[in-house]
């Protein structure tokens, strides 16, 4: 216990003495989060407290990757990502405000309560994930640091399925490598993979 405290103090000292660029970036991020907090309140009525969705049709955005959240909002705003209500909502925010929203929500924990999934699909989906998706959606879709790909683990199943309908119908602009991966797997395998992501719950192992 005492050692832990000393270690934390030592790390704190190192961080304090490190390059000002780091501090500046963190200061900018802190300001964005502060601005984002007020803007984010309206989102929570649907997307849940601090972005932890309680509804199958609505994605969890708390803890989601910063650049992915900002990119999605901007795509809703310019209509390149199809939506019912999100375009009308995204239109109300400036780019700076969208970045602040993304900073705020990405700074929250990604809540993963258990969901109803098909165990057989989960097993098959894991195999597909390892074969086709693993290189971008790292660590079973739980990666938080190494890529710009959205977190998928623990995301709401109904939302994932609805979103995949749009992707397969060519209504959503996606990366080429995602497109080619999808061409190589059949619809059953895709659905199984979504069950695999949705089935992951609880804290990171």
């Amino acid at each position: 216990m005492r050692h832990t405290r000393e270690l934390i103090a030592a790390i704190g000292l190192i961080l304090t003495l490190s390059a000002p660029a780091w501090a500046q970036k963190s200061d900018r991020k802190a300001k964005a989060i502060e601005l984002g907090e007020m803007l984010a309140q309206s989102c929570m009525a649907c997307h849940g407290t601090r972005g932890a969705s309680t509804q199958q049709a609505i994605p969890t955005i708390g803890g989601q990757v910063d650049s992915y959240l900002a990119g999605s909002m901007k795509a809703y705003r310019d209509g390149t990502r199809p939506s019912t209500v999100m375009e009308r909502i995204a239109n109300a925010y400036s780019s700076r405000e969208i970045d602040a929203l993304a900073a705020y929500f990405s700074n929250q924990p990604f809540a993963r309560p258990p969901q109803n999934t098909d165990p057989d699909k989960v097993t098959r989906g894991q195999a597909v994930h390892m074969r086709k998706c693993n290189r971008c959606h790292l660590h079973n879709g739980r990666d938080t640091t190494e890529s710009d790909s959205p977190l998928l683990a623990g995301q709401k199943l109904e939302y994932l399925q609805r979103n995949m309908v749009d992707i397969l119908a060519g209504k959503r602009v996606i990366e080429l490598k995602m497109n080619s991966a999808l061409m190589e797997i059949n619809p059953d395998e895709i659905d199984a993979t979504l069950h695999f992501y949705a089935a992951q719950h609880g804290d990171l192992p």
Binding site: E34, L35, E37, M38, L39, Q41, S42, M44, A45, C46, H47, G48, T49, R50, S53, T54, Q55, Q56, A57, I58, T84, V85, R88, I89, A90, N91, A92, Y93, R162
Partner: protein, 423 residues
């Protein structure tokens, strides 16, 4: 409220009852001893409950007391769907147990009588609650006197309004279920501002759905005091034409002026109807608590607030949120109350921590169901940059058409907002 506090409260309440003659003479006792900065929230509806939770999330140092008259809350949004048959009223009920258990909101079940602005206390029959800031979410009351023949005690049972609590929808539904095929239903709407006009047009759609399915020879006459539909007008016009063409007879500019409820009659300036079922939604004002606390403005109806903070312009330190506020005509909704509650709570938490407050920014997202499948939504954004409510030009708008997808989102919206305020 801890067990000790509850015991103390009951003891105190019991003591008051046994000494009725002395009560007015002694200074009312503090119900819960205050330890630090305290915010008292009055009213546990869509605005108040989420304001209490948000305060505790934003700054757990703040003591938050939520005064609410009912232990179980029955929400009005989605209650219309019970008429059409796609929802059970039980799904609209919630309790405050998790606000208390998870977030440490102190619940005080009782009826706030008034706010004493000078003493900074909320006054209940049993005693008082001192506050540093008060958030008041009193909801609505009715201006019954404007309808000749209306009896506040007797008319609501005969001509249910079902406009204050979700539970009231059951009396209206029973009348509709008991009606003969070929009957006449009249729905009467007041002039805005009133609580959630869009919900009134949804109500009409859901009654029409029930009639079409179970008593298709019936008629539904709508007497709207407004000259035309005030929310999602084109969507309702098109949707009714498609789904309920020979069923709904919509008449704009027709205020109900006089009623004889025991004889099932109601009259506009030019016509008298004898109806089998009447859903009479009377004109409205801010809730009684606002009136008794001097929070109602010159119009004698609504509470004027500074829209950059939602602080009452008539009482410093008192913030009024939700339907009771004077604002945009279409702003009175569960969604707007929820968003105002959160914005207000964040800024009170910031002030308490000596941090900078932020401009209020919030959306009003209203979903409606046309039948048991298709939904649509209207969205508006507000920015509290001035003392007046500033509806933003950028963003917002209504759906292009009714869709099954938005029907799903309507249900998800309701599930989400109910979970947010109670868990």
């Amino acid at each position: 409220m801890t067990a000790t506090m509850r015991r103390r409260f009951l003891k105190l309440a019991g003591g008051m009852v046994s000494l009725p003659l002395i009560t007015p003479l002694v200074r009312a006792a503090e119900l819960l001893p205050r330890k630090g900065t305290r915010v008292v929230v009055v009213g546990g509806g869509f605005g108040g409950a989420i304001a209490a939770k948000t305060l505790r999330l934003a700054n757990p140092e703040i003591e938050v007391v939520l005064v609410e008259r009912n232990r179980s809350y029955s929400a009005l949004p989605g209650a219309n769907w019970v008429i059409g048959g796609s929802r059970r009223i039980g799904e609209n009920r919630l309790t405050y147990d998790r606000l208390e258990g998870t977030y440490g909101v102190q619940m005080l079940y009782g009826e706030a009588q008034s706010i004493d602005v000078d003493a900074k206390t909320v006054v209940l029959n049993e005693g008082t609650l001192a506050y540093d800031h008060a958030i008041v979410a009193p909801g609505i009351d009715f201006r019954f006197a404007e309808i000749e023949g209306y009896s506040a005690a007797e008319t609501p049972a005969l001509f249910p309004h079902a406009w204050r609590s979700g539970e009231e929808i059951m009396a209206l539904k029973k009348q509709l279920d008991d009606m003969k095929n070929g009957g006449l239903v009249v729905v009467s709407l007041p002039l805005p501002p009133y609580r959630c006009p869009q919900a009134a047009y949804e109500r009409i759609s859901q009654i029409a759905l029930l009639l079409r399915r179970t008593k298709p020879r019936s008629k539904l006459v709508v007497l709207d005091a407004s000259p035309a539909i005030t929310s999602m007008a084109q969507l309702f016009v098109n949707g009714w034409a498609r789904e309920y063409e020979h069923l709904i007879d919509y008449r704009g500019g027709q205020a109900v002026l006089k009623i004889d409820a025991p004889r099932a009659r109601l009259s506009t300036s030019g016509e008298t109807f004898r109806a089998d079922v009447v859903n009479l939604i009377p004109p409205q004002s801010a809730g009684l608590l606002a009136q008794k606390s001097g929070l109602v403005g010159e119009d004698k109806r609504w509470c004027p607030v500074d829209h950059s903070t939602h602080e009452s312009t008539l009482a410093a330190g008192v913030y009024v949120i939700g339907d009771a506020c004077l604002g945009d005509d279409l702003q009175k909704s569960a969604s707007a109350a929820n968003a105002q509650g959160k914005a207000c709570a964040l800024n009170i938490a910031a002030t308490t921590a000596r941090r900078k407050t932020q401009t209020h920014f919030y959306s009003n997202v209203q979903y409606s169901l046309l039948n048991d499948r298709d939904g649509a939504s209207s969205v508006a954004f507000y920015r509290g940059e001035t003392r007046k409510p500033t509806r933003m030009e950028k963003g917002g708008g209504t759906s292009a058409e009714w869709s099954e997808l938005e029907g799903n989102y309507a249900r998800a919206w309701l599930g989400g907002i109910l979970a947010e305020m109670s868990s």
